[in-house]
């Protein structure tokens, strides 16, 4: 179907009967033309399409408010001169900034951009700061409100540490051979081994709710043997635990006298005493042998003469006869040894 373009006037074939323009370009140009836009290299807008200028005269006033212009102090309207009133407030709003050179423009732009960024950051920071400060205040208030944690110390552990500071055993227990003479040190080691065993027994028993009376009797008996032993009595005077061992024995005796009729009884130590025993046991632990109560012998170590007697008595009769000690003893008893000696002398 043949039609004519409304913009350029050329003939073109259209599929639709309502198509007005030959191309999209003409369609767009027609639109610009309708709205009074003139593009470079195009024809001017038709007078019919131009929007008429509407002028309005103020009705009741001789004053017209105009924007600041250095050249014009008066405004003419319809051959009438009107007074100009400068809008001072508006003028004050427009402060003219001297333009920079063209070369510096880019730098300025970047500077302005940077300064704008800095301002934005500052603004944001200003916004954030009050929040932060409020948070800090809250934290501070929390810290102030929350009392500091009070460390709680155990009474028993405190007492043990106190005993350690007093150092009841000290170097004497650590190195008895260095501190005492050999014979004394030997006795001390013998007593220490037994005392460690008894101390451990007492601490263990004090942890139980109820103990058998027989157990306490055994421990009491062990203390008794230890105290009565010659080794214990020959201990040097500066041995640190001598008095304590006797004190414990007396204490046990007292308990048994009071509660001896009970089959099961509660054995408790005072905190002070327990701390003392734990401290001593801890000191002894590193320097004396660990021995079970059932395996240890509280009977005192025998002298060399007693050992010989025991050795002889244990042997059988036949063995006894063959032994020179036995023969020597029997001869002595018979008085033969005396006669032989007399003969030798003669």
């Amino acid at each position: 179907m043949e039609s004519t373009c409304l913009y350029c006037g050329e003939h073109f074939t259209a599929i639709r009967s309502s198509k007005k323009y030959c191309s999209d370009n003409c369609k767009q140009m027609a639109y610009f033309k309708r709205n009074g836009l003139v593009l470079s290299g195009t024809t001017e807008v038709e007078p019919s399409l131009q929007v008429p200028v509407v002028s309005v005269k103020p009705v009741n006033t001789n004053e017209v408010s105009v924007k600041y212009d250095n050249e014009k102090d008066t405004v003419k309207y319809a051959n009438e001169e009107l007074n100009v009133k400068y809008d001072k407030d508006d003028r004050s709003e427009f402060e003219f900034v001297p333009l920079a050179d063209a070369e510096e423009d880019e730098e300025d732009e970047t500077e302005i951009a940077e300064s704008n960024n800095v301002r934005e950051i500052e603004k944001e920071a200003q916004k954030v700061e009050p929040i932060k400060s409020s948070l800090n205040i809250e934290k501070e208030q929390k810290d102030e409100n929350e009392p500091r944690y009070k460390w709680i110390n155990s009474k028993l552990i405190g007492l043990i540490e106190k005993k350690y500071e007093q150092n009841s055993g000290g170097i004497k227990i650590k190195e008895p051979i260095d501190y005492w003479e050999y014979e004394d040190a030997k006795r001390i080691v013998w007593v220490n081994t037994r005392f460690r065993c008894l101390t451990e027994g007492l601490i263990k028993l004090s942890n139980y709710s109820l103990i058998d009376q027989h157990t306490l009797l055994c421990i009491n008996d062990a203390f008794k043997r230890l105290i009565k032993s010659i080794t214990f009595n020959k201990l040097p005077n500066d041995y640190p635990f001598k008095e304590l061992i006797i004190e414990l024995f007396l204490g046990l005796n007292k308990i048994l006298a009071e509660k001896g009729h009970l089959k099961m009884l509660a054995f408790k130590l005072t905190k002070e005493r327990k701390a003392q025993l734990i401290c001593i046991r801890h000191q002894l632990m590193h320097h004396t042998l660990e021995t079970k109560f059932s395996e240890i012998d509280f009977i005192e170590e025998k002298t060399s003469e007693e050992k010989v007697q025991q050795f002889i008595s244990k042997k059988n009769e036949t063995e006894k006869k063959s032994d020179w000690r036995y023969r020597y003893e029997s001869l002595k008893r018979q008085g033969l040894l005396k006669n032989q000696q007399l003969n030798k002398a003669a």
Binding site: E146, I152, I203, N207, Y208, S209
Partner: protein, 104 residues
């Protein structure tokens, strides 16, 4: 059936349950720590012969107080077990954290 408790990962890491064996000698000290700091705890058993109690304690590790209370408790128990080494038999005073199966 045990109710399901939903926790975030952070919460899961911060809320812990610990099981302690507290001997009679330390009972008052440990209870003093728990009561003074309002720490949730539960006595779950007693070893009658040895006078030991089994104590379940819930700690919120996000709280400074709870953390310090935990350190305090464990410090006391460690010191005690050091001094009583060999006397407590096989008793370990601090046990591992309990894993609760139904928590997600």
């Amino acid at each position: 059936m045990k109710p399901l408790i939903y926790k975030t990962k952070d919460m899961e890491n911060k809320l812990i349950v610990k099981l302690y064996k507290v001997p009679e000698d330390l009972l008052m000290d440990i209870l003093r720590i728990l009561f003074k700091n309002n720490i949730k705890h539960k006595i779950i058993g007693i070893q009658e012969r040895q006078n030991i109690i089994l104590l379940n304690v819930n700690f919120d590790l996000a709280s400074i107080k709870n953390r310090e209370a935990k350190e305090n408790m464990e410090g006391i128990l460690t010191d005690y077990s050091e001094y009583m080494k060999g006397l407590l038999g096989d008793t370990v005073l601090m046990l591992d954290e309990e894993d609760e199966e139904n928590e997600y």
